[in-house]
Each structure stands twice: as C-alpha cells, then as structure tokens.
Subunit: 328 residues, 6 copies
C-alpha cells in the first residue's frame, strides 16, 4: 500500500496522490504568485509552497482537488513541510474520491449508529428518551458526519459522533462503578451535549462558524432545539425532568468562562463535563504522540495549555496510534 504523508522521513523523496486541503494564492516578494498549500491524506496534513504559479496553475490547483506530487519531505521552523518538485492533476484511473484522503472516525457510520442506539435503549425516562430520539432523527445526517470541532480534538469527519460515543462508553463505566449515578440522565446528556455543533458549524469539510454559531453558540442552539422538541412532543418544557436535561447541556462546559451560562448543579452534569474533557484530552494527546518519535516530545498542544508530551522510548505503538483509518 502507498506510503502516507506522515510515513516519510526527513529528506526522503515523496511521491504519491494527495488532496489539496487548502490552496491560497499569495504574492511573493519578487512580485510573482505562489500557492500556499496544505496537502492532506488520512495520516494528517503537511504544508508546502508552489512557487511561480502561472494562471493555469492557480486554476488547476484549487482546494478540494486531488493531485499527484513529486517532492521532498523537509522541515521549516521545526514543522514538517513538503518541497514541491512536480505536481499534476490526476488522470482517469487514478484516485478521484475525496473521501479516501480525508481523516475520518475510526468507526464507520453504521457501527457508530448501532452503538449509539444501544445507549438510547438504556434511557428509561420517557421524556428524555423521546427528546433524544426526536433530535437524533432530526439531525441524523449531520450528527454522524460532522467533526467535533474545527481544530483541536476530533477535527475529522464523523468526529462528533465518535466523540459522543467515547463519552458514552466512559459514562457506562462510571455508572457501573457508582450506582447512585442516574444512568438515563447521563446518557441523554452525553448524546445531546454537542449536537448543537451541527448548527454552529458550516459542515464537515472546510468548516467555518455560522452566524448563529458566532452570535448564539452551540450550547444555546441545542437548548432551543430541546424546547422546540418538547412543544412538538407535547412534553411540559417546565417539568423538572426537562429542566434537568437542559441543565445537563447548558452546564457541560463546566465553567462560566468556558461558555456555559450556568455551572453544574446536578451530579450527572458535573460528571458529563469531566468525561467530555477527559475524552478530548486523550484524543489530543494520542494524535500528537502518534506524530512524535519514541524518545521525543510532541509539539505543544494549544488546547492543553500549550503543554508538550513526552513519548517514552519504550513506546513502540506508533503504527497504531495514527491509524484512525486502520479499519477501512
């Protein structure tokens, strides 16, 4: 099988098919145009510059196109980059499907959907069960295809559902260990907590924030959906069970300064917040460690206070670590 972008060592020649994730026209100091490109395949992204771009080049090499590249893996200011030697569009018979180059969740959609449904079955409180089913149906396609964030953790297609599922599995362990935890409430909150991101973000590819995302935010956007669901399902939106469910979502960022309008005042809301952070942290650390050699440090992770992490020399699991696509 063809080498992936992150399989190439420093100074090694690179040859293969890649997706142009970004391709921006800029003016060089000599007055000529060049393209600032991010090459992508399922192992991640690396940047490169295409110098002295003709108008035809600008036309050909737009973001979203798949190209064939010859070049070299170099380093620029500590970050990997590709020195481009030759680049052309693909021919018939060569790879044409963007999906093959985009990182996506390590589980396929059907598997994730089946697993989420198992958790829905366990939501035995009828109001919560109906609201969750209603909104899962309403946002079905986006929920299973969106990333969980523009960058940072789970920033890949299907990342939202995958992140939700990871939290649900942690939630199950917690509910098994601490029997006083309200299992249906924790599951219902976990499934809905980030669903507002399907309204906050523009889509799974070239993700930007919508105006509603910027002015209202995903927390309030999904809260409003719960209220609407109650109206359509004839559930009293002022009932304690609905208020508690809404609180799960509203409080899940844990601190006001992280954007929750209220802090957790229900035990399960506090637990949901903790598990959300735990899964996001592990996901970010695993991704970064997968890109570092044993015995070295990862790059600094912005969303973890800029810390870098040491990959011990005895840790030989790299092949697995970046294998989000391993089961494809």
């Amino acid at each position: 099988m063809a080498k992936k972008l992150f399989d190439y060592q420093l100074d090694e020649p690179v040859e293969g098919f890649f997706l142009l994730k970004d391709s921006e026209v800029r003016i060089a100091k000599n007055g000529k145009k060049f393209l600032a490109i991010n090459f992508q395949d399922i192992s991640g992204e690396i940047s490169g510059k295409f110098w002295d771009a003709s108008d035809q080049d600008v036309e050909n090499f737009q973001a979203g196109r798949i190209i064939h590249l010859k070049g070299k893996r170099e380093t620029y200011q500590g970050n990997p980059q590709i020195k481009i030697q030759q680049m052309r569009l693909t021919h018939a018979g060569e790879p044409q499907e963007v999906q093959q180059f985009v990182e996506h969740a390590p589980l396929n959609t059907q598997t994730m959907e089946d697993e989420v449904n198992q958790f829905v079955f366990a939501i035995t409180e009828p109001n919560w069960n109906r609201i969750v089913r209603h909104l899962l149906t309403k946002f079905h396609a986006d929920f299973f295809s969106y990333p969980a964030a523009k960058k940072n953790h789970h920033a890949f297609a299907g990342g939202l559902a995958y992140h939700t599922l990871s939290i649900l599995k942690l939630a199950k362990s917690v509910a098994d260990e601490y029997p006083h935890v309200n299992r249906p409430l924790l599951y219902a909150g976990a499934i809905l907590h980030d669903m507002g991101k399907t309204i906050e973000m523009s889509g799974p590819v070239s993700t930007t924030y919508t105006l509603a995302g910027n002015l209202v935010g995903h927390i309030v956007l999904i809260d409003e959906q719960i209220v609407e669901a109650c109206q359509q399902l004839k559930i009293d939106e002022q009932s304690e069970s609905v208020l508690i469910l809404r609180h799960m979502i509203l409080a899940h960022h844990g601190l006001l300064e992280y954007g929750s309008p209220v802090r957790p005042h229900i035990m399960e809301a506090e637990i949901l917040h903790d598990l959300d952070e735990l899964d996001a942290s592990i996901q970010m650390m695993q991704t970064s460690i997968g890109h570092a050699e044993p015995g070295t440090y990862t790059e600094r992770i912005f969303a973890m206070d800029g810390r870098n992490f040491y990959r011990p020399t005895h840790d030989q699991t790299k092949g697995d670590l970046d294998g989000h696509a391993s089961q494809d």
Copy 2:
C-alpha cells in the same frame, strides 16, 4: 407625617408602625426563644431582637404582619438596630396595608408602562417590534411588579421595569449622540434583556430563585421565549434580525464569567451591557449614599467590589436621595 426608620438618630426613641419583613424564631443561649426581626418601611430595613418570646408572641409576630413598636435606635457592630421595648399588633383603624411599608419604584406602574410604550413605538424594525410587543403582553403583570434582583440594585417592587426604563433613557441619549447606533435594536434589547427574571425569580415579595432560575438562568429563559414568540408570530427564527436580537440578550452580561454564553460581538450589545452596569451602579451608590450622613462613608457595597463611597460634607440632598416614595 410619621418619622421613617432611617430618620431616627442614634439613641433616639422610636415609636411607630412597621412591617415585619422577616421574623425568625431562634433559641437563645439561656434556652429561651427569641425572634430575630427585620423591621421595614419605605425608607429601608433595620433589624432587632425580641427576647423571651412566648408561644403567643411567636404566633403573633410573623413575617408579613404590621406592628406598632416602641423602642430605641441603637448600633450593633457598626450597623443600626432597634432595641425593642414594646411591640403589639395593629388595631382596627391603624395601618393594615403591606404596600405602604414596602419600598417600590419611584414611578407608578401606569407611568412606567406609558414611558416604555414610547420606546416600543421607536422600534421600527418589524420583527423586533412584534417580538417585543408579544413578550411585553405575555409577561405584562410580572414585568411591572417584579424587582430587578433579590438584593443589590433595584431590589424593590417594580424595580425590574424601573431599571429597564432607566436604561432606555440612557440608550436614547447614546443614540442621539452617536448617530450610527442602531436605535431600534438597542431599545428592543434593553426592554427584553432582564425580562427572564420574571421566570427566574419567584415573585416580587420574599423573592427566591425558581428551579428554572437555578438550572437554566434568566438569560437563557428569555432567549427561549424569543424563539417561541418567533414560532407563534411566524417569524423565521434563523433570520439575521432574530439572531442579532437574541445576541443582544445572550451577551448582555458582557463577560462569560458573568454568565453570558457569548461575549458582545455587535456594537449595540456592547452598549447595552455598559448601560446596564452604569444604571445598576448609580442606583446602588445612590441608595447607600442616601443612608450615610454627609462627611461620612457608606457601608461597603458588595456588588461594587466591596467599595465604600464618601458622601461629601457639602452634599445636603439626603432627604431626596432615599425618597423612592417621594411621589406617593
């Protein structure tokens, strides 16, 4: 006219009718019951202790009753208190109406309603106008009778509408001075910004927070009402004008750590936040200064970082300052 509670000087004999705002039964160190009382009239509240309370006294002197008091104005740990000498329930022909003893807004309800309506006329954007009218109608009674807060600023009957009206007047001045300000947006946001407090709080008297208030909060509670109003008025809730109006309310606490789920990203939302704080500050300072003698400092105001304020010796306006009831 009878002297008010705050008219009595230190060590002066007190005699008059007062409302028992709070009256709590406690056990003294000698094992006997006593009542910890807050006496109230429109000039404010002062505490006192009724020692050796019999079961009949406990029965008689409950919160909400109006009593006749003989006593002395003393000081306990720097705060004024009343030493109770004699206390009895009122007779027929003596004051019986709680309203006479409760601090309330310096404007009567009809006046406030008329003035608010003048501002509604100036909301020329049709969606905003319809939403504001709809919610003003829906919450009419509570909006004009609730306090703006449990304590701190405008913690009196009618305080919510009075605070709203003060902001509207400041908003008018700002819109007159800075012509690029969107006047209809600023007015609509000002009228709605704290209306959720009618859901967050239990009522104008003996105010507590409701479960919805604690778990959801007044910001999101009124946001949800805007969304419902759109549905009933057939206004597209995803339209830019609605998103902007919702942003006005969601962002009006200014900072995430003050409970807004988003910071202001619309000029008028920033202005609304500033005017909200300005009016609350002036109201708190005026109340405290009204209780201090010229040439002395007020007590520390908790909600203004615990600062106290100096009342200059040349400031002889005390009579006016605490006269919320002046037009009665």
Copy 3:
C-alpha cells in the same frame, strides 16, 4: 436497628448511643462552662452544646467517649444540630467500641487488599511492579486504614485505599477503551499517587498534619520513598522507567498551583490526574446528596468551588446513598 443521626427529622426526639467526636470546653457569656460537642455515628456528624457543664461533666464527656443521649433534632443557622436534654456515659452491656460509630470505607480491608492485588498483577513492567510491591508492603497497615484526606472527600477510615481502588477501576475502563494507554504505568501511578499521605497525616483518627506533611508535603514524601526503594532494590533511579513513574506521582495534582512541582508531560500522568479529580468529585457529591432531601439542594461543597447540588425529586435512593456501612 437503631436510628442513625441523619435519620432523625427536624424537631424529632433523639435517643440513642453516639460517639463524642469532638468535645471542647468553652466559657459561655454568663461565665459558666459549656461543651461544644460533635456527635458521630456512621451516618455522619451533628453538633450540639452541653450547657452549664460541671467539672465532672467536663471530665466525663471527653472526645472519644461513647454516650447515651436524649435530645431533639433542631436547626441552627441552617445546619442541623442536637438540643441535648440528657446525656450519660454508657453502662456495661451497652456499646463500647468506637469502630461501630466511625464512618469507614464501604469495603472491608481484606476485600480492598485482594482487589488492589489484582491490579498489581497487571503491572507487567518489572521495575514498576517491584517498587509498587515494596512500598505496598512497607506502608501496608497505614495504607489500608488511613483516610484519603482530613476533610473533603474520603475522610473516613480506609478512605485512602478505597479512593485508590476507585481510581484503579476507572483506570481499567480507560485502558480498555483507549488501547494506546500504558496500562501498567497507569496502575502503578494510581496505587502510589497518594501513599505519601500516610506520612503527611498523623493517623486515621483525629487526623492532623505532621511536620513533614506541612514542610515537605505528601507528593515529595512518597517520591523520596520511590528513590529509597530503588536503592534498596538495586534499580537505577535515573533510568527512564523510574523517572516516568516518579513523574506520575509528582504531576498528579495537575497544576502547579495545586502543589505539583511539574505539570503532566506524560499522557498517563494527565489521565491519572483527571481520574483522581473525577473520583474525588463524585465521592463528595454523593455524600452531600445523601444528606439532602429529594427536591432540595445540598449544602455548599467547599472543595468544589462552593457549589451546591440539586437532588432531583425523583431521586429516591437516599437510603443507599449514605450507606457506607451498608455491608457491615
């Protein structure tokens, strides 16, 4: 079975045997002595005052004694208290064993030891395994009898081992879900992380901090024990595996301001920190919720930023919630 302290409702007569957890002689305002007492049984602690104490009373009713009490369950400034009517020392044939009145871990020592040992088997890295066994043996008695803290979470006999075991179970769930987690490292770190508390604190009863605890702290105290263990076991203390294990312990408070001299820079150290906080939070919330009635709020939990938590009305599990002694 006899009623427990927290089974009595407000104003209900109280009669039974209790431990005097604290009993402090003070001078009342009338110049006479009184005893400020904390009564304890396995359901928790409630305070009371014994007025007009004679010298014989002071002699009799010292902390650590078991007494028979007649009184009434009252409330003082929002907290439960006991009004003492009659109090005497126990006679022969009445309860004499302090252990019966002291809250302790819901698992007995042998069970906890067996379960911890299962996790030790899974520490397949030989250095870590030997160090953990060495220190578990060295601190065996204290590790299984100490509380995890003076107050806040797991402040009961056996709390240290119970807290450790809860984290180990969470750690197992995490290692099962995220296969790149180094399971032996996470288990070894979890077992050792708070073991220094056996040096930091004076003992399981009437716990105070030792001088070493105050001047050095439990994090560095156990780090020093790891270094000593290496010397005795002829393990190179500068080897990467030892440095990583030490880092697990040194970094487990997560932030410098919480007393860790380094922040986590190993993935498993970050996870250990997160699970430590998660278990402590759940334990504190469960305890407080167990003391609140359904449909009311708990008291504020100091170690969780002073937040209180709402116990939903549909939560009828109180009997279980405070039943740490349920299996005895």
Copy 4:
C-alpha cells in the same frame, strides 16, 4: 471628489494623492533597499512596499511628504495593502497641505471650544470653576490639537478635546436623569481627566511618550497641575473640594491595574470612569465597523480584549461611519 483610500475595492486600480505617514528603509532578502510605507488620507491608513528603492527614492519619499500614487488595492494576510506601480512627489498646483490628509476630529476647534465653554459655565462651584479655567487656558493650544491616545481610540488630531466633549455630553444626560449626581463635579472632572496627556505625549503628529509620560504618567501629571493651580489661585489645596476634584482625576481609570492610584470612592468618579470607557468603546467600534463591509466582521480590536464585531447586512451607513471629515 477624489476617492479615498478606503473607497477602493479589492483589486481596483488606485490613483491619487496621499500622505506618507511612515516610510521606513529596510533591506530585502535580495540585499536591496525597500521602503515600508503607510499611506494616509482622512479615511485611514493602508500599507504598501516600494521595492528596489534607489538612494534618490529614499531621499524623496520620507514620512510627511505628499505623493501621487498609481497602484492597486490588494490584500496581504487578511489586511488591505497597496501594490505600488508608480509614485512621485507632488508638483506645484497639486495638494501640499498635510492637514488635508490627516484624520481629525469631526468638529472644528472653534466649535469644540465653544461647546466646552458651555459646560464650564455650568461648573457652579467656584474653586472647581477657577481651576478648570486656569488649566484650560494654560494648556489651551495642546488641549484642542492633541489626540486622545497614540493608537486605539481618538488617535487623531483634536481627538483629546473631541473625546472630552463626548464624555461631557453623556455626563449631561446622566445628570439630567439622575438628579442626585453632582453636575459641576462631574463636568470639572471630565474636562480635566485626560488633560495630562498633553504632557505625557510629544504632540499631535508622530506621537511618542515623553520621559515624564513614562516615569510619572498623565494621571499624576495633571494632578500636579491642579496642585500648582491651587497655589497660584490661592485656593487651599487641602480643602475637601480640591481633594474631591483631584480624586476625580486620580480614580478615573477605575481599577488600580489600569493605573489609577486609588479606586473611585466618590459617586461622580465612578460615573466619570464608566463614561470614559463607554465613549472610548463606541469610538473604537464605530471606526472598525466603518472599515468593514456589511455582513462581515471587523478586524479584532486589541483594546476590547481582541474581540471582533459583526456589521449586520442591513447596516448601510458605511459612508457616514468613516466620515470624520464629513463636515469639512
């Protein structure tokens, strides 16, 4: 009338007269000199680079010169810039006056002076009135020509007086609405609050901070002037009225961390601080929004915590918004 800098659209050819606000000689990577220029007219500033500058070019194109430019409006890393095609000095008969190109207050000096004087009349306290007149006379020329700041808000000629006047108008509204506000005190404080900037800064053009500005700061610099004024006017500088006036100036930054040596402890000092911030914020937002297209976000405003602001699509007032020069 000729197009202004901010009237040109992306990729539109630019031709016209502009001021060289900055022109810095740098060395390009090819070893040749180039000029890093900021072009200015009354609509604002845009940067550009003059490549391969000869010694004659360096000599000609110095900061402060007016030039004729042919070029193109481009974008560089999200900010507008001018690609220079041809540039020459102006000839006789072409614009020569720097004042025509410099942004300045939207009111002319005489108007501002007249309006300020109206407020001085209303300062009925004799000490304050005499001090204000004395210092207005002493710093007259600078007060009406200086900017209010080096950058951020009101960073244009006459900005100091214009900012002062805006605050005075807001102050009038507040004093009208809240009758207990001491109007003369608020006006006197507003006029003097930033007058120290005439000592702190070097002048209206190419503004830098003076040594006194850096080592003492404008707050203390004007406080010292009040003290000197008292000595010359034979006013007792220890009188309460002088202490209160000084407090207005010393406290006007509101928080110690913003450089006030005392926090506001007089109601009018708190109000002055609030109005100062309100006017500065509105001014910054208006300027940024005037440079953004409807339906887009402004650049981030550093002095407002780096927030950007959304200009609604229905806001068609751009022409007015950047028209500081509109009445000229």
Copy 5:
C-alpha cells in the same frame, strides 16, 4: 520587673498595670452593657470583656486610661484573652504614662535621626539632597513619631522612621555588592518613599486614615510635596533628575494593583520596591514568631497571603524576639 501580657501562660492568674487601648460599650444579650476591651503593654495586645458595666464603669474605663487588672489568661476561639476579675483605675504613685505601655521602635528618636542623617550625607546629587533635606525638615516631627502602617508591619510609634532606616541599611548592602547601583538615588528614594504616610494617617495613636489619605493616597501625597519643594527650592521640576526621583516614589509599590500609578522602569526603583517588601515581611514574621512557642506555628499573617510560619523547636530566642522594648 513586672510580667508582660505575653509572658502569662494559659490559665495563669494575671495581675498588673495595663493600658486600655480600646474600650467599646456594647449591649449583651441579657440587655446589660459590657465593655469590649483591648489591654495593651509593650509586649502587645490581648482582648477581654468587662460584663455588667455600670454607667460609672463606662465613664471610668475609657480608651487611653491605665488600669490595674486582676484576671486570668484564657483562650477564646484560638486567640488569647483575659478573663477580667477585678479592674480599677490607677492611684497616685502608680504608672500614669501612656508611653510606657505603647510599643515603639527599638531605637530611640535621636539615634534614628542620627543614622538617617548619615545616609543623607551620602546623597551626593545636589537636587536630591536638597529635596530630601527640605522634606525631612518639613515633616520632621511626624516622620520620627508615626507608625509605618495602621496594622500589619511596623504599626508602632516611630515605626515609619524605623522601617525607613532598615531599608536604608539593606540599600547600603546592595549598593556595596552591586557597584552599578546609583547609591544616592536609592537612598533618596528610600527616605521619601513612605513619608506621605504622615499626611495619609491621622497620627501615631488611634491611627485612622485622613480624607486626603483615602481620596489621594500616600504615594501621590508625597509626590505632590516633591513638586512643591522644587518650586520653593527653584529646582526645575521637569528635569530628568527630579522625574527620576519622583518615579522612585510613584513606583515603589511595584505593581499597579498595589497602588503604584506606574511600574518600576528604573533599576533603583525596582530595588527599592524589593527591599521595602523584604523589610516588611521580616518584620511581620519576627513579630509573629515572637508570639509563638518553639515547636508551634504562628497565627496566620494576613498580609503574607494568610500563611502561618513554623517556629523551630531549637529556636530559643523568644525573649529577644518580642523585645521591641529591650532598650528601655
């Protein structure tokens, strides 16, 4: 020699002459008056309550009187207190001089004056020398009799000069060790840095803050004096040497949030700030440790972040430590 207040052990009978530092009339729960007293001698202060005070007692036992006391040294809520058994005014022939009971600087005024003068000689820069002499003369009496603060460090008569002198001695050591330090500047700044406290505070006894102290603050108050001194001494107040000297004083609190309007931007200003804090800290620690037994902790020191300090068991210097009066 008679025992001092802090020489008495817990439960030891107390008999001797003491000053009534404070004596406040309060009403007990039984309705009778009592006096809340602070007894003082040169070893410190301890509180006590005088129950059932008659009008004659209130008249006799006012603050400032010297009394003869019989009582017992007890503890109340962890703090030492005196149980009063008998108390009477002093007779002829018994101690009458308040000075004997007031803590004061361990050096007498003449010694401090001589030592300060030695440092003045070393201020070789003529402007600084003249300004320092001028202000030392102007504030001579107060400078050598005032405390350095109302509470916290050096809160005793002569404390201001003593604190200044301690800093000067540290400054000499620093200037000896780091030859690039400007010695005259450091000395001049040290002498003047807190001199404004003679204006900020009401006097050496029963110290309160003046209005000027509250509204302007000691930093700006002495800065103003430097400016006035320049005018009287015909020194150019805008000269660099004067600006630098003023900066020394203005910046000496180190951080804006501690009340300096500017942070140190001159090396000697930074050093002055550091030495000011160092001397204050050592003084506070020495005082507290002097009141603690070897092998115990001090009370928490509010101005040092509430930390307490351990007095090692081998530290047998207590007699010396609290001996501010040792030379009397």
Copy 6:
C-alpha cells in the same frame, strides 16, 4: 584590544574573530540554502544571515567554530544584526579557544570556591554542615561551571556558583541586620537551593534540559540528593533539622505556581526566596542596561513581566556594566 560585538555602532564596519554560537541551515524563498547564525563574544550575541551557502560553507561554518568576519552592524526590526560580507575559518596563530568567546562569571572559579567555603564555615549546625559539604563535594565540578539558567539571568559559564555567592553575600547582610535570622540555615539553604540545576541541565555549553529536568525538576532533584546524603552520612532524614533544610529548598520558588511544591512556612525560607529574586532581577537589569545607551530604554526583559528600563542620561558606567570579562 580588539573591539567587542557590542562596541560597534549602527552602520559601522565590523571586522574580527567571533564564535559561531548557533548556525542553522535553512532554505530561502529562492530555494537556496542559507545559514542563520548567532555570533558570540564575551560582550554578548548578535545574529546574522549567510546567504547562498554552498555545501562547503555548511560544512565549515558549524556551531562551535571560531571564524573571522568582515561585515557591517545593522538593525533588523529593532534588534541589532550583522550583515556578513566575508567570513572564513581561522588560521593557525589566530584565536582557537572557545573559552575566550564565551561569557563567564566575573570571578574565577578558585575565588568563588574560596568565598563559598567561608560561608560553609559559618554553618554551625552539624547536620546542615555535613550535608552541604557532602553535596558540594559530589557536584563540585558542575556547581562551579554551570550557568544558573538556560537564558534569562546568569546564563553564562560559572553563573550558578556566582548567583549562589551573590545570594550568600546578601544573606550575610540580612543576618547582620536582623539578629533573629538563623544564619546557618539561611547559608545552607542558599548554597543548595539551585544545585539541582546541575542535574536538570545538560551542561555549561549548548544547554538543554535533561529528561530528569523535564519530568522531575531541579527542586525535587536536589531534595532527593539531600535524602540520599542523609542515608550515607547516617543522619536521621526525619529529624526536624533535616525537614527544615529540605523545606528551604522545596519552598524557594516562593509560590506554588512557580514550581515549589510548598510555600515558605519558615522565616528563612521566605528570605531565601526574596534574595533569590532580588539577585536575579538586579543581574538581568544590569545586563540589559549595559547594552543600552544612556538616555534610552533597554529592550523588554521577558522574565520581568516584559518591562523595559530607562538608563538615565547621567549614567556613564556602560563600560563597566557589561564587563563580565573585566578581570580576565
């Protein structure tokens, strides 16, 4: 004597021998290699770029080589840089010793050793004396050759011992002035406080952090050495005197957020922290001021909150200020 790097003025031709401190190969925008170089001599470091580097150039001009340079002193974005005109390796007979170009402590090793020993003599407590001697012997070579930090203060060969010695001298002054300070404890703590840096850092040249440095940190690393020393010297490591000494080291960063696992709770630990900061600050200010012209500001000092410092015009000591090499 030859001019030093910092002796050259702007635009002055540079010619002389320098050390290549760093030399990094990078790719220019034209695709050719260049070297990003830091030139060093004992006056400091200045950067420069060597364009169009051949493979032979890359081979020749590696970090650690001494070269002969012809060029010009220029400025790039406000920082000094060297424009390289000609560069060659040194010939026989020209300077070859790296030591001549490296900044080092102003005292030679023998002098520092003698002076430190004088302080060791004054450590009269036998345990402390033996521990200090033991560790001084063990880490002798590194202690006298390492820098005190990678950058910031004392970042030169011998800086660790020089910094230690400066603190010891300040400590002597403090102990002389405040007789209750425990002199032996303060000296012992000062000598050991940063000795862990010899384990934390890789060495005196091209300093990096070791794995132990990153995962454990210098504070805990030297604490562990004290414990080991106790074991070898048969000193009871749980004795109060050892706990106190360890506390001196553990607490010397003063605040938890600066990496101390405990805050100072011993007077001498607080003093050690203060003197450590004082010496580091003065050292940083002196170095920066030595690089600035009189009448100008230094560059911003990162470790002093980014402040810059003004070098007064009357300060003519520059020659001395940067003369770390003055006694060579």
